[in-house]
C-alpha cells in the first residue's frame, strides 16, 4: 500500500471506518447493497454520509461509499441462487411487509434495478436482475405451496 496516494489512503481509511461502524451490522450483501444505494442521490449519483464526511471530507466519503457499494454488488452477483433466495426472503421479513405484498411490489416495480452502482458492468447487472427475477418466482412458488395460514 506504499504506492497509494494520500487521497486514496484517506478513502481506504474512510472505507475501513464505514465497514467497522456501520456495515458490520449489515451482514447480508443484499441489505448492504440496498443501504448503500439509498445513500446515493439519484439526481447526481453522489453518495452522502454526514458522519463519514465530518470525519474525512465529502469527496472521500463519497468514494468510500461507492467502493463499498461496488463490493456489495460484486458479492451479490457472485452468490449462488439459493443464497440469493434466502437473502431476499430474509430481507422481506426485515421489512415487516406481507409476502404477497412484497413479491407483487418487487415483481412490478423491480426496485433492484436502481440499486446497482453506476459503473457496474452491464452483463453483471443483467445477470443480477435475471437472478432477482428467478428468486422472486421461486419465493412466489414457495408461498403458493404453503398452507394459506402460514403464507400470510
Amino acid at each position: 500500500m506504499a504506492s497509494l496516494s494520500p487521497k486514496r489512503m484517506d478513502v481506504e481509511q474512510a472505507r475501513e471506518d464505514l465497514c467497522r461502524r456501520t456495515l458490520s451490522d449489515i451482514r447480508r450483501p443484499l441489505d448492504r447493497l440496498i443501504y448503500l444505494a439509498s445513500m446515493r442521490d439519484y439526481n447526481t449519483g453522489i453518495y452522502h454520509h454526514d458522519g463519514l464526511a465530518s470525519r474525512f471530507t465529502s469527496e472521500v466519503a463519497c468514494e468510500a461509499l461507492a467502493d463499498c457499494h461496488r463490493e456489495a454488488f460484486r458479492e451479490l452477483v457472485l452468490c449462488p441462487l439459493d443464497e440469493l433466495v434466502s437473502q431476499l426472503d430474509a430481507y422481506r421479513s426485515s421489512t415487516h411487509t406481507s409476502p404477497r405484498e412484497f413479491l407483487t411490489a418487487w415483481g412490478r416495480l423491480e426496485p433492484y434495478r436502481v440499486a446497482v452502482p453506476v459503473q457496474a458492468d452491464p452483463l453483471s447487472a443483467d445477470f443480477l436482475f435475471s437472478n432477482f427475477k428467478i428468486a422472486l418466482a421461486i419465493l412466489e412458488s414457495q408461498m403458493d405451496s404453503r398452507p394459506a395460514g402460514l403464507a400470510a
Binding site: P80, L81, D82, V85, D121, P122, D126, S141
Partner: protein, 220 residues
C-alpha cells in the same frame, strides 16, 4: 490527370478497329458510346471507393487505441473473470431449482433467463474480440513492438475464437445454457489468451508507476 487518362483511353478505343469493320456507322458508334459509359462508371466507382477510404481512420489514430483499450478492459474486468463465467454457467443453480420442487413455469423461466444471459455473454465477448481484431488489423503495427510471427499467431487466434463464439452461440441457442460447458471454458481461455497478447500491444497506454521522490532527491 483524369482528363489525360480519359484522353488516352479514348485514343486507344478510337484506334481499336472495333468488332465490325464492315460498318463504321450506327452500331459501332453506339458500341463505343456504351464502352465509354462503362469506363466512366468504372472510374467514378474507383473515385468513390478512394474517397471513402480517405475518410477512414489513419493508421495510428489515437481513437483506435482508446477503443482497443476499452475493449480489453471490458473483456478482462467485465466478461472474462473466471468466477463470473463460472457463476453464469453454474449447474448448482439448476440443481437448486430442481431440488426446490419449483413448478414447471419457474424451471422454464430459469432456463430461459440463463440462456438469455449466456447468449448475451457470448455476444459481448465476440463483439469486444472483434474490436480488438480491428485494432490489430488497422493500427497495431504503427505502435506495437510485436513481431510478424506473433501477429500471425494472433490472427489465427482471432479467427478461431470468432468461429468458436459462433459455434457456442449456436449450441446454446439450440441446446440451452448447459449444452456445451467445455466449449464455454475453451472460449473463455482463448479470449483470455488474446487479451494477454493484446495487453503487450497496449501496455504503453497503462499509467506509468512513478516511484515517489526519495527525500533529498529534489534539487534544493
Amino acid at each position: 490527370m483524369l482528363v489525360a487518362a480519359f484522353g488516352a483511353i479514348g485514343r486507344v478505343i478510337f484506334w481499336f478497329p472495333g468488332p465490325s469493320k464492315i460498318s463504321i456507322q450506327g452500331g459501332s458508334i453506339v458500341i463505343q458510346l456504351i464502352f465509354f459509359l462503362l469506363i466512366g462508371a468504372a472510374l467514378l466507382s474507383s473515385l468513390v471507393f478512394l474517397g471513402r477510404r480517405g475518410g477512414a481512420r489513419a493508421q495510428g489514430d489515437p481513437r483506435a487505441l482508446v477503443e482497443a483499450r476499452k475493449a480489453l478492459d471490458a473483456l478482462q474486468a467485465g466478461l472474462l473473470p473466471e468466477e463470473l463465467v463460472h457463476r453464469i454457467f453454474a449447474k448448482e443453480d439448476l440443481s437448486y431449482v430442481v431440488s426446490a420442487s419449483a413448478p414447471k413455469r419457474v424451471h422454464d423461466l430459469f432456463i430461459a433467463e440463463r440462456k438469455k444471459i449466456a447468449l448475451s455473454w457470448i455476444d459481448q465477448v465476440r463483439s469486444q474480440v472483434s474490436n480488438l481484431r480491428r485494432f490489430h488489423t488497422d493500427a497495431a503495427r504503427s505502435y506495437a513492438q510485436i513481431g510478424l510471427r506473433t501477429e500471425f499467431q494472433l490472427a489465427c487466434h482471432f479467427a478461431s475464437l470468432l468461429v468458436a463464439c459462433r459455434a457456442l452461440s449456436a449450441a446454446i441457442y439450440l441446446g440451452g445454457p448447459y449444452a456445451a460447458p467445455q466449449m464455454v471454458d475453451a472460449t473463455a481461455a482463448a479470449a483470455a489468451r488474446i487479451c494477454a497478447i493484446s495487453e503487450q500491444s497496449l501496455a504503453f497506454l497503462n499509467p506509468v508507476q512513478l516511484k515517489p521522490f526519495a527525500s533529498g532527491s529534489l534539487p534544493s
